[in-house]
């Protein structure tokens, strides 16, 4: 046991292509120009954050068969942005979401190993899976994967990538000019993988990188996703807002680790969080109300409602009451290219109807009430306290903060909340080491023994 109080981990999520991001704010900058990414990453590094995080989606979202145009649309390539950010930052981790369905292990393992070298050990991979034919239309193989098989592919994909990262010995690049020996032996990089999903063999071309393996994130919340994370991830990216829900999730996931010979600290639980700060609590609440109205325009409210009703509701007045018709429970969805937010349509509709009638809420007012309110609202001291309490209560190991304005939306947090957490001894004032594993308190990935000629069954 050490006397050091439990450390909080903090990360910065580049604002996403959803209505949380307020592009109409006069301060809102580009979502594509590199200067925006550099600005947010440098702010996060100045505040000693653990890492910078990029989400990804591989097809533009559609609703009612048309490209969605109300939120930010468009984003750059994850690998290229992270590699470029490695040039303008020195310490902060660089975490990217890369899909295991529309990529191949050899290429992704090569890209992350390269990123880890090029960033001096700061790479992280958020492993996501998809199965939808909609996104598949942009790729050679199309929608080839059944929904129920997506975690099988993801698991074997990650396992295969780990095998590739282990194909070089530590110190295999000898580069002894006098002796004329560049590599330890000619088998460095050799691999064979025969599995259900991948049957590949060859030579992996990237020597072992500073972290051994990049830090692995998992973002799903299903039982399979939790098990995947418990078995094989370093961090889990969640959306559990309340302390109680966070604690249940925390206990559940950390409780699964022992089965895999892992300790609770080997997997960090990091919920996404939004925040609105103010000079006083009243000021913060007022500012939050303004932000919510910016986030949920009348048109956006109708689109949210359509996701539950599964009908074209474009004729309804967002400032009027809920539609009298019931949701369409058919199989086909009017929304494509985004995660389904509302699971049970009838139940959700009934709940919303009751709330709307009880409080006399219009469609827009209701949507402001029921969709994604800010996680933390208050003065810097109040927000610091909320974060500290959530970590102390074991609802989270820290938070991935999503500013609602690009790229300056983290400045106020960095300048006002972080110093309080530092004063309490709960957040670093300097980086302890050069790698993201150092920031997260994770050890360098062990090299598994590997036979380049035999069949590697995998450890999962």
């Amino acid at each position: 046991m050490t006397d050091r109080p439990r450390q909080i981990h903090l990360a910065a999520h580049f604002p996403g292509v959803n209505n949380t991001t307020v592009w109409s704010d006069p301060r809102a900058g580009s979502h594509i120009e590199f200067s925006s990414f550099a600005k947010l990453a440098r702010t996060a590094e100045r505040a000693k954050f653990d890492f910078f995080f990029l989400a990804e989606g591989l097809r533009l979202r559609e609703q009612r068969g048309r490209i969605h145009d109300l939120d930010v649309v468009g984003r750059p390539d994850t690998f290229a942005v992270l590699a470029a950010l490695a040039a303008v930052t020195d310490h902060i981790g660089l975490s990217g979401t890369i899909n295991s369905t529309f990529n191949e292990p050899f290429e992704v393992a090569r890209q992350f190993a390269s990123l880890d070298h090029l960033s001096g050990g700061r790479a992280a991979w958020n492993v996501v899976t998809s199965w939808d034919a909609f996104t598949g239309e942009n790729f050679r193989r199309g929608g080839f994967l059944a929904r129920e098989d997506r975690y099988d592919r993801a698991k074997e994909f990650l396992q295969t990538a780990r095998e590739l990262w282990d194909t070089w010995d530590d110190g295999a690049v000898v580069a002894d000019q006098g002796a004329g020996r560049f590599i330890l032996d000619a088998d460095q990089g050799a691999f064979v993988h025969k599995g259900q999903q991948f049957d590949i063999a060859g030579h992996f071309g990237v020597p072992r990188s500073p972290q051994g393996h990049p830090v692995i994130f998992q973002a799903g919340d299903s039982d399979t996703g939790r098990e995947f994370a418990a078995a094989d991830a370093d961090c889990i990216f969640t959306r559990h807002g309340s302390i109680a829900a966070g604690q249940r999730f925390f206990q559940d996931v950390k409780g699964r680790l022992a089965r895999y010979g892992r300790s609770p600290d080997d997997l960090k639980i990091l919920p996404a969080a939004t925040f609105v700060l103010g000079g006083s609590e009243k000021d913060a609440v007022e500012r939050s109300a303004v932000v919510r109205r910016q986030q949920v325009s009348g048109q956006t409210a109708i689109l949210f409602l359509e996701q539950v009703w599964n009908r074209d509701l474009s004729g309804y007045d967002p400032d009027g009451p809920l539609p009298a018709v019931e949701p369409d429970l058919g199989e086909s969805s009017i929304v494509q290219g985004r995660v389904a937010v509302f699971e049970d349509r009838m139940k959700t509709a009934a709940k919303w109807r009751a709330l709307s009638e009880a409080q006399g809420l219009s469609i827009r007012e209701l949507m402001i009430e029921v969709t994604n309110p800010a996680s933390f609202v208050g003065t810097p001291l109040q927000v610091a306290t909320q974060i500290e309490q959530a970590v102390t209560a074991e609802a989270a190991d820290g938070f991935i903060l999503i500013p609602h304005v690009t790229p300056g939306g983290l400045d106020e947090f960095a300048d006002s909340v972080v110093p309080i957490l530092q004063e309490w001894g709960r957040f670093r004032t300097e980086y302890d080491g050069p790698t993201l594993r150092d920031h997260l308190g994770l050890s360098v990935a062990r090299r598994t023994s590997f036979s380049p000629t035999g069949v590697n069954a995998g450890a999962s």
């Binding site: 050899f106 790729f139 071309g205 020597p207």
Partner: protein, 400 residues
Amino acid sequence: MANPPHLHLAVALEGAGWHPAAWRASDARPRDLFSPDYWVDLVQESEWGLLDFVTLEDSLAPQSTRRGVIERRTDRVRGRLDALLIAARVAPTTSAIGIVPVVTTTHTEPFHVSKAVATLDYVSSGRAGLQARVSASELEARQFGRRRISNPLPNGARDSLDAGLVNDLFDEAADFVDVVRRLWDSWEDDAEIRDIATGRFIDRTKVHYIDFVGRYFSVKGPSITPRPPQGQPLVSVLAHIPVAFRLAARSADLVYITPENTEAAGSIVAEIRAHEAAEGRRDPPLRIFADIVVFLDEDTATAHDRKQRFDDLDGEPLRSDALIFVGTPADLAELMVAWQAAGIDGFRLRPGAIPHDLEMITHEVVGALQDRSAFRHHYEDATLRARLGLARPASRYALA
């Protein structure tokens, strides 16, 4: 009489240099080949020399001097980082030089490559390109496990490759580049409107499905990345054989060729122009660069000695698809000016050993060309396309 236009000059960066023993030179940095600083230094040195652009070599198979063979030797450089990632890593540390990574078209996804090069164009403010590379390697195919490519005679002889297979792979590469380019065009330049009055971030009538359906794959689009600063980043191809000349004529902005002398330079240029005519090319004519491997010293004897030492260390003389020039910067400059008269627009020099031959290029060759009024004294154009005299094209999907 007016001077001919300035020559264009690029370097091809590969490991410790293009000689397999180059890493053993006393000034080499073999331990740094996998560090970002090494690549930043090389590209900054190239920018110091006012070069048009650098290319970054890449391959999905281990380095080998014999096609399709895994070498058992331990005395040559083995391993490399992904060229596109190196390109993005060095881009923010430079401000003018073009950055052109090699990209394999045979196993990768055109959707990913399109947005990656578009993003490289954003992080470099309009200095990005790619060199499309076809892989006919059975070894590389097995690493992906998605398709079979079998070379009946993997002994390195070019004519041993199955002609039908090679034709298919180059046709596929043409489709690949077509899709990459269509995706770059899929967002019109003014698609992002941020119209607060109507609540719309984009004008979706200016974001287009490409609906590409080809023999090898289909891609729906649009890209997830808006149109890059250059509209169309530079597409280049290395070509030695007719099927590759044809790919260049169909798909590229710039082609690297490997003539052995002035006469061959003239005849290859003529052959490429004939391919352009046969393909009915509407884009500006291909910029034609000659590739030359260079070993440069103040006098020819020293250069020969240096190259000979590398050959001795390696145990065999260097072989190359391109001319191997061993001599002085002034003699190289003479050769370049003579080839320019035969129709060559520029040169891509492959430094035999780094840093020596790279610094000879940026200091001495550039100086010798400047003395002949054949090379720039400072950068003028902001984008790589502009430097090569290529206008920024409108999106093909934009209504006039």
